[in-house]
Symmetry: C2
Subunit: 265 residues, 2 copies
């Protein structure tokens, strides 16, 4: 069996491109349609009702492109809206929380897992729930870090002041002696170096992007939905605000050139 339809991926902005990069590696023959909601970014400071409304609109847009699977490549939307999206649409919809939680569980040695994310992700308790579903023996400690996204977007990931802010945010998690830290927002991998430095060498950082791409492959495989073609996949990007800023910041996330970007509305 072979299904040539594209995979749909959405995020509030550029962060989801870290997931796109892994999908391109792991599913090189699949066509991808990405939607970044740059006109309404960020989602992490907004309510469940609003994020869910936006997420439904984003999936409806992807459905117009006849996608066979939707990947919610945004921790906030995955935390607040995934269950609703799964009930609303007839294609499989998956998020980034469960893959991240699974990876954290397999990485921890002392069963103490830290999670950093937006206000909305952290207060949803989504990571605690996902980890507890695997086993109740893990302890999860969380910390909202609302300044991380603006620091990344300002291009300040190497500045001393970013290290200071990281120390302020991570102090409680260090005190809890976590040995694994989930970067629970697709922007945070850009801060990997400073997170490593502040947490110290004994702490493993978890980026859910790779695990998410692997999970997407499993779902497609199980449903007979993989694209059997041998040609390289096509990748199209849509944004709701003007494309230039998206391309400029986005290439840092994707670590590849972004060629085909269109304004969606």
């Amino acid at each position: 069996m072979s299904d040539p339809r594209p995979i749909g991926i959405f995020d509030s902005g550029v962060g989801g491109l870290t997931v796109v990069g892994e999908m391109q590696d792991i599913l090189p023959n699949e066509d991808l349609v990405y939607f970044g909601d740059t006109a309404r970014v960020p989602y992490g400071t907004k309510s469940k009702e609003t994020v869910t409304k936006f997420s439904v609109e984003n999936v409806e847009f992807l459905m117009e492109h006849n996608v066979k699977l939707v990947v919610v490549a945004c921790n906030t939307a995955s935390s607040l809206s995934l269950d609703f999206l799964k009930r609303c649409f007839r294609v499989p919809v998956m998020g980034v929380i469960e893959p991240g939680a699974r990876q954290a569980v397999s990485a921890t040695r002392n069963n103490r897992i830290g999670v950093v994310g937006t206000h909305a992700t952290i207060s949803s308790g989504a990571y605690e729930k996902a980890v507890k579903k695997i086993s109740p023996r893990y302890k999860v400690f969380t910390q909202a870090c609302p300044l991380f996204v603006p620091l990344v977007e300002e291009g300040w990931s190497d500045k001393e002041v970013t290290k200071t802010i990281t120390q302020i945010y991570l102090k409680p998690l260090k005190q809890k002696k976590v040995d694994t830290l989930v970067m629970g927002c697709t922007h945070y991998p850009i801060l990997k170096e400073v997170l490593k430095k502040v947490m110290g060498p004994g702490v493993m950082l978890v980026d859910s992007a790779r695990e998410t791409a692997k999970e997407a492959r499993r779902i497609l495989d199980a449903g007979g939905l993989l694209n059997g073609s041998k040609r390289s996949g096509r990748h199209i990007f849509f944004v709701s605000d003007e494309p230039n800023r998206f391309v400029r910041i986005g290439e840092k996330f994707l670590k590849r050139r972004i060629k085909c970007v269109k304004r969606a509305v």
Copy 2:
């Protein structure tokens, strides 16, 4: 003549409440209808086209409340969209840039004016244009400070790290020896103390909120549109996301209790 219709005010979120506070002082008998676009905040990182589309929708919402004047209490929307809004609607529409520029010009002694604001406000060149319209003898130096809004929203205005970030942003303006600094974003008055400390005692800070309220009174007066009633004005607040966060952060801006907040959409 007396016109009992309310005044409409909009902002991307809570910042415009600094203008509302001054309007309540200067026009105590006027009814006010405020709209904060908290579902799509911020505007300062978005394009002219997107900010203008949102601004038109915001004014249309205020027009449903039969307003007699629209105040764009957002520096970004004033910078990018005011001319378009003035052409679109049949009531007078005013912004915060010209009042701020006028106040800066009357404050400066050495004719060197600094302006801080969002990316969008600064790259629009709106303050330079407004000051040059008054007289070409003033020099305007600008600096985008995209981290100020998230720092304010995080409640970190007193933290040492905020002072460090302020020093980084303001260094070029200090080198230009400005004696006046326009806080060109309605969030920034919350950072007044740290801005003062970093700029030093010789520099005057300009907050356009008060001048904007005075300008609103002049426009109403000139058009015979003032409310002649002796009762206190009613103040209604609408937001596009859920009201709790707006009330919590908003009371810092308004410096009064916010009672009547409704979700608009």
